[in-house]
Symmetry: C2
Amino acid sequence: MTLDALPSHPGGAENLARLLARALLAGHWQPGDLFPKELDIGRHFVVSRNQVRNALASLTATGLIERTAGRGTLVREMGEWHLLDPLMSEWMTGLVNLDPQLVRAIYAFRFSAEPTVAGLAAQAASAEDIARLEAAFEGMRRSAGNPDARAQHAEYDVAFHDATYRATHNLVWRQMGHLLRPSIMALVHRSQHDIKTLDDSLTRHRHVLEAIKACDAHAAETAAREVLRRTAIDLGIVS
Amino acid sequence: MTLDALPSHPGGAENLARLLARALLAGHWQPGDLFPKELDIGRHFVVSRNQVRNALASLTATGLIERTAGRGTLVREMGEWHLLDPLMSEWMTGLVNLDPQLVRAIYAFRFSAEPTVAGLAAQAASAEDIARLEAAFEGMRRSAGNPDARAQHAEYDVAFHDATYRATHNLVWRQMGHLLRPSIMALVHRSQHDIKTLDDSLTRHRHVLEAIKACDAHAAETAAREVLRRTAIDLGIVS
DNA sequence: CTTGTTAAAATGTCAGACATTTAATAAGCT
DNA sequence: AGCTTATTAAATGTCTGACATTTTAACAAG
């Protein structure tokens, strides 16, 4: 794989990193492949070696590549990627070609973890957390009917789940909220979002909200599981 | 806080990063404080500005600090730290002054997550996973009586839990295994490790192993919870 | 065929100059 | 005095070129 297929004018090491990362996430290179050399990248995008090195340093930090002096830059396999790094989440969101194996892995994680998270949230949520959840739910409800507001609806969806993780009041769980964004954003492109589907999704979210408000951990767990069953259908994991 | 209290001769940007990170993790600076300037750090440790910048780039990537041109380097608060970054785990292991709030947060996470993880492992473990678990358990058993082998015992302990996370065969859960190392290593310094305690811990681990071997998810969940109750006592979280 | 040497290529490091951003300070006006 | 505007200093960001180190491959000697 060469650089020719990639858009140009990155403008800044961050953008260059995002560009290269997305190409990697989309599978433009196979694990074990040699990544282009610093100087080639610099020539192609017309940026200094500094910018290239900074961008590649980010990719190294997230486990996407591995660099050794003299040999060059190797592409690492998916199992080595730091999926929980916030940078990764940012790079994954909006990527349409995300590896289905990865989508399923993230979904499987959520399906096993999120009921527990919802249960913890029911025990620990403060008034502020409840307010955040209600605001997000209200946003979802408002943008549900409008077919032009799919992206906005997804944002509120992300906000709802993120608020759930935050409501656990646990530093570690809270960080995992980042992983939700790419997972939920993938829904925008894969599901048809007809009225019936959205209404069903909304109802299931409402049950989670109510269970958390009622401080009923068991009900929250069950309700979260129901939300994720809906998500599985929308992601095409189960029919 | 100045740099005077820190040991010198880091030798390489990685070591310098570890050094500074540990000072941050130990609370030598308060959130919102100004971190030393690049040139001062370089002078103090007798390293080039490049090394300093590389080290600080790592600290930035893990959310420990925040840098802006003109203003300087600010220390971020604990809630912003990327606790799931493998680098963080490496920096945290062996740190004796780890913030008690952080230790409790990590423990609370494990207490809520690890039963689920053990349950998943019971469903998905392969023969290879079982072998890893048995090898780790055997190592724990062998090093249990010997008071000189506390560090080795802890390594096997880490290996056991890491094997559990790996046995879920889920990319996301697997990454969280990194978080175990600092949590378990903290035990070495905090508990007395008398024979009775170790024997009890060993028995509880054995129950997890047997439940996973029997593919009994529910039993694995319960057994994992029991292991963590023992851990809570050893960490001094409950008496 | 093996071994040791050499050469090329790639990443890592350094040093210096310069650019940009920010904050504090001073000047000047109403 | 009070407010606005230049000026200056300090800090991080960037660029460039040269050099160091590591690895691989080619090649020659035994």
